[in-house]
């Protein structure tokens, strides 16, 4: 006897992510799932934001081992950074986010940034209950990443190209990268920034604030 099910294989993930989405909605928190390869500057972007982005936000950082990234943020004077050590897991799960979020004092919190495990494949498949996925690219890692890892760029609503201060020094076709991003998602928003010099962050901050206003 064949029993039709026709349900997403990620049903459990979807339920848990839905719970998170409801929690964030009730607390009026805009949540961003940041995905990029190791070394693209996800933590550096957050470090820059810790010093220059005025609204109240918290950061949950996932890494396979160590709390080095959250420690780095805390040492820079930003106290609302929390680590999840996956112990081998290649991505964060909505359950991990919910557990960690329950430990956080979320009073008055406006934004939650989740820095996923450095990986362009697995994190893109797991909804955490975020408002949107933000992919981070960087100039030194080469201009073919979008073509090589389509699953992330099909889903990312925002792409941030970091380390643009190095653009003149490397063979990186930024226009081609932007075109590739649009091919994957015609509605994608692309920002060019440098976490080192602060270039491009003003526009990015305005965008985030606009998204927050729309959600409220």
């Amino acid at each position: 006897m064949k029993k039709k099910i026709n349900i997403s294989a990620q049903e459990n993930n979807r339920i848990k992510a839905g719970e998170n989405r409801e929690i964030f909605k009730n607390k009026n928190i805009l949540t961003i799932n940041i995905i990029g390869s190791p070394g693209c500057g996800k933590t550096s972007i957050l470090e820059y934001m810790a010093a220059h982005f005025e609204p109240k936000f918290a950061v949950i950082v996932g890494d396979v081992k160590t709390a080095l990234d959250s420690d780095r943020l805390i040492q820079s004077g930003f106290s609302s950074a929390y680590a999840i050590e996956t112990g081998g897991g290649c991505h964060l799960t909505p359950q991990q986010i919910q557990n960690k979020f329950n430990e956080i004092n979320s009073d008055g919190l406006e934004y939650l940034f989740v820095e996923n495990v450095g990986n362009l494949v697995c994190p893109s498949s797991f909804d955490l209950g975020e408002d949107f996925k933000m992919a981070v690219l960087s100039i030194p890692e080469g201009d073919e990443k979008v073509r090589k890892y389509p699953s992330l760029f099909l889903k990312a609503e925002v792409v941030v190209i970091n380390k643009v201060d190095l653009a003149g020094m490397m063979d990186y076709d930024i226009e081609q990268v932007k075109k590739d991003c649009k091919t994957h998602n015609p509605n994608v928003e692309i920002f060019e920034v440098s976490a080192k010099t602060g270039l491009g962050f003003e526009t990015f901050f305005e965008y985030l604030k606009g998204k927050k206003t729309k959600k409220s």
Binding site: M1, I5, R147
Partner: protein, 113 residues
Amino acid sequence: MHEFALAEDIVKTIEKEISSDFSQMQEIELEVGTFAGVVTESLEFGLTVILKDKDAEHVKVKIISVPAQCSCECGHQYEIENIFQECPQCQSLNRSMNSGTDVIISSVEIAEE
């Protein structure tokens, strides 16, 4: 790498959806989109390991590959094998994906009593 986590989710979902246990089950049928970012061999391997752990190694796993269907801004619907395949009608790349990005548990085969 994430296929094992996906396999765990699939088994949990099936356990929730069907009232009987795995002893009567014969086959699990999955539809995997060609743009789902899933290595089917790894998914199959993950399922084999989890089913074995549940004393259900007799359960077969059938995976059907689902092509990606797009709706172009011109209204034309077409299938793509790679992301840079333009609309055959208007050559645009401005489209939305209708299928081929998900993993669906389509059905399970259960032995009749």
